[in-house]
Symmetry: C2
Subunit: 290 residues, 2 copies
Amino acid sequence: MTTSREVRLKSRPVGLPVADNFEVATVTLPDPGPGEVQVRNTWMTVDPYMRGRMNDVKSYSPPFALGEVMQGGAVGEVIASNDAGFQVGDLVQSNYGWREAYNAQASMVQKLDTFGLPPQAFLGVAGMPGMTAYAGLLRIAALKEGDVVFVSAASGAVGSVVCQIAKIKGHKVIGSAGGPEKVKFLKEELGVDVAIDYKATPDLMKALEEAAPEGIDVYFENVGGEHLEAALNSARPFGRFALCGMISMYNATTPPPGPRNIAQAVGKQLRMEGFIVSSHYDMLPSFHKD
Amino acid sequence: MTTSREVRLKSRPVGLPVADNFEVATVTLPDPGPGEVQVRNTWMTVDPYMRGRMNDVKSYSPPFALGEVMQGGAVGEVIASNDAGFQVGDLVQSNYGWREAYNAQASMVQKLDTFGLPPQAFLGVAGMPGMTAYAGLLRIAALKEGDVVFVSAASGAVGSVVCQIAKIKGHKVIGSAGGPEKVKFLKEELGVDVAIDYKATPDLMKALEEAAPEGIDVYFENVGGEHLEAALNSARPFGRFALCGMISMYNATTPPPGPRNIAQAVGKQLRMEGFIVSSHYDMLPSFHKD
């Protein structure tokens, strides 16, 4: 008999989520039924998009239900199988995060070939966030030779991959993150050309002007707010913005101010395009190949 | 000897331009020099983009110079020619607006074949504004079958053409304009499906929701501000916004509020693209053919 602790959404957060919005419960799992597998998670991921799902509003993912266990990406190991396709010991990927173990229909989990990478990489650089970076930078922002690239939340799961892809391809990359440790990571690990500590910068617009006096061509948007205004201000004609997320707005309880200089998008002929990685999984083979 | 009155920019307007920002001067034109023509204007146009050129800021068009005659689209008739390519009586188009007559190098004016249309149409529906509507709707917004189209400043030179093209192609069209006369024009002359009088509507967002309960696919942006917010709110997934202008911001003296709901562009995977007609003159032959 397997017991599992799981994290449930107890109440919908207003503003920043607090521990009291969640509760931990212990459940007992029966043996897997016909066509089911039992999996013990080894890794799970917490991603920014989950904050949106804690609200009770219509969006591209349905809201999390109150009283139910949170969902999310996870990697685990099959510990019991009642399906011919899976054996004990198989490594699998699923959307059954936020719990130690679970039973599921075999069709709801995917066997994971790690290509020699650590399994948890498939929740990050080799998984959804990495794929998001890849699709956003190469397809949505249509990165092309000579582009100067600006990335917000550049030390995050998605942003850090954007920085690395752009650096590998030989671009000038400006990354923004909050705090000296993240900035150090940007400079020393990711090798960006300029790292901006937006928390230490009184005027982000001016900081970006100085980081890219020649202007920027691509903006990979994870933050919104002042970051978007600074990017609009520094954009060169025909700049392309991949709108991946706007973290700065996720915990807002009143409508946050929009970019006051959005009219620059007209004169500079900018393209701003929002995207969700699930619309671009046709790029997965080329992503894994790259 | 020809005399001509001309309108000069006397001072740069702050906020809404007033008559005192301009002065009218009378000049005497010499006979046209070698390779020059002398033209008497019969029509000139006043366009929203001119407001931007009254400011001393860098943009896609250089600012108007103080003390100099204003420029802008005009149609006129050659009244004297010192160039073999032009004869007295030729109809020409030029950028020498805001004056009754002028001398110019022959290369600076274009002979106008009206295809049977009234000459002034080439300052509107058959000219730059019409071409703007055509390029913005068909190329930038990539209008496709079944799209629901929302147009702001729908009774204007550009917006009215957008409405007509979309109606001719069989789309549901919602137009917004200010005041009962403009709304009457939208309904009776342009035949839009729903006309919104934004000046009489306390809640534009709600008005658009009611006009298009199914949502909108294309937004042709001439206004900015609340119009852009309403369009973001009503956009269906993969909606496309052609950002042609943001009139509401042109006379602003402080940074106007940006769209507070721009984060919806991510979840709905919207594309917003600014454009300037001069980048799309390769479409001119197909525009005139259509």
